[in-house]
Assembly symmetry: C2
Homo-oligomer: 251 residues x 2
DNA sequence: ACACAACAATTGTTCAACACTTGACAACTT
DNA sequence: AAGTTGTCAAGTGTTGAACAATTGTTGTGT
């Protein structure tokens, strides 16, 4: 999906990928402890390999490592959310201003993201809707044409997404954001970047305040902790990234 | 220096820190291969621990890992340099605009960076000069008050610094940049942010073109490769980060 | 209640082996 | 001679088992 090249990856990378997916999809909720041995066994990898995977995800900010006290799925504080939205404002808005010389393929993908979003909302699939929503914003960053920025932004969006799984969007966000995205897209293709940036800024402010409000209410009682979320699945991982060998977690 | 708390770190983290320092100080030049076993032995840690350290640095972009073909100190391409300066423009300029509500301590540190820079240039200590130069720019980012941005920027500056060790500044940069930094500082404290941003943009452009020119000339013949840069030092690392236990590489 | 010592649980680290890739070189075919 | 195939050594990827170090707890004594 990213590079058309078939490149091998290590088992540790695959394990990290699977764990990442589980976290981002909400199967592993913030605060969940992840003891090494059961975790390694549940994925059919050795403890050392799992440690490498955990190291990767803790650098990404998805896991929090307390020395000699184990690893947990990270929990975003209110400040974290503010930081992330601060970043989004800086990076997305400047990206819009760089859209003048954006390659057409990006516009196509943006269109697909808008459509996908709308479709997901129509079918009440909130998880998928959040996915397309964030995909849209991630695509904006592509206008910068900066690989480092893209990977950094993806990391940040990942953290945000991890925090989002806590909120039940079904009765919160009635999908009213579809028109906003569509409007942003239209202004973008029309080259009205100034106006687009303005609406985007507003959109981000709204999104932050809504998210922040929810967090402020939720954060007092840390009742999100599942005792154990790993049934012993002994599927082994292979070194090849040819699709097979990666036991997809869901979907 | 960051948190006043004395926190323990793992040996893998220490090993990564030492390797990072060696790379950033130019002891390990871009392209240098780093075979696992000798590297681990030279630091007195096990191979697995060293693998974790290597993993850390390759995520930071300082090492490049080729699966089954070993690890090398990363080399920046011209595009990499362009990317990095693009980031610097975005992040530093917007940081200057956020300096209005900057905390006074940051200004103090900026002042110290300018003075340190000047002092280093006076004593012809180019390595230290580069350090203070980059320190100044890193401090600008502090105005954003964003931890994620700071660590990201530090990572990026690290990559740049790694590339900079290749150029012999002694006959290139005659330290003529001291006045620029001082001017930037003065405009900053005077609150003339608009003007400061303009000069900063100019400064970054100059810096990039100078660097790019040097790289374009140098990159054709990859003669930067030391066969082996590790004399067997069997100093063991400890788990405590109390200063002792970390065999400082240089300084 | 408080201090303090033994303890179980878990993480941090090491070690030694084996499996798998890769690049190089030799043997072979045409 | 050029190109193909086979073998081999070196290095990385992965594993499993052990040991060391740290933390929280439990229990004991005062």
């Amino acid at each position: 999906m990213e590079h058309s090249q078939i490149h091998r990856v290590t088992v540790a990378d695959q394990a990290a990928g699977i764990l990442r997916q589980r976290i981002l999809e909400g199967e592993l909720r913030p605060g969940t402890p992840l003891p090494e041995i059961p975790l390694a066994e549940s994925m059919g990898v050795s403890r050392n390999t799992m440690r490498e995977a955990v190291r990767i995800l803790s650098i990404e900010g998805l896991l929090k490592r307390n020395i000699h006290r184990g690893v947990r799925v990270a929990q975003l504080s209110l400040r974290d959310v503010q930081e992330i939205y601060h970043l989004r404002r800086i990076l997305e808005i400047s990206a819009v201003h760089a859209a003048k010389r954006g390659r057409p393929e990006v516009f196509q993908e943006l269109r697909a993201a808008v459509d996908g979003y709308e479709e997901a909302v129509r079918s009440r699939d909130w998880a998928k809707a959040v996915g397309w929503d964030l995909q849209f914003h991630t695509l904006l960053i592509r206008f910068h044409g900066n690989r480092r920025l893209e990977s950094f932004y993806q990391k940040v969006i990942g953290e945000l997404r991890m925090g989002m799984v806590l909120v039940d969007r079904s009765h919160d966000n009635p999908g009213g954001l579809v028109p906003v995205h569509r409007k942003l897209y239209q202004l973008l293709v029309a080259g009205k970047l100034k106006q687009c940036a303005a609406i985007l800024a507003q959109h981000l402010d709204d999104s932050e305040s809504r998210f922040g409000r929810i967090m402020a209410g939720e954060s007092s009682h840390p009742g999100w902790q599942s005792k154990r979320a790993n049934s012993a699945r002994s599927r082994k991982l292979s070194t090849r990234a040819d699709g097979r060998g990666i036991p997809a977690v869901a979907e």
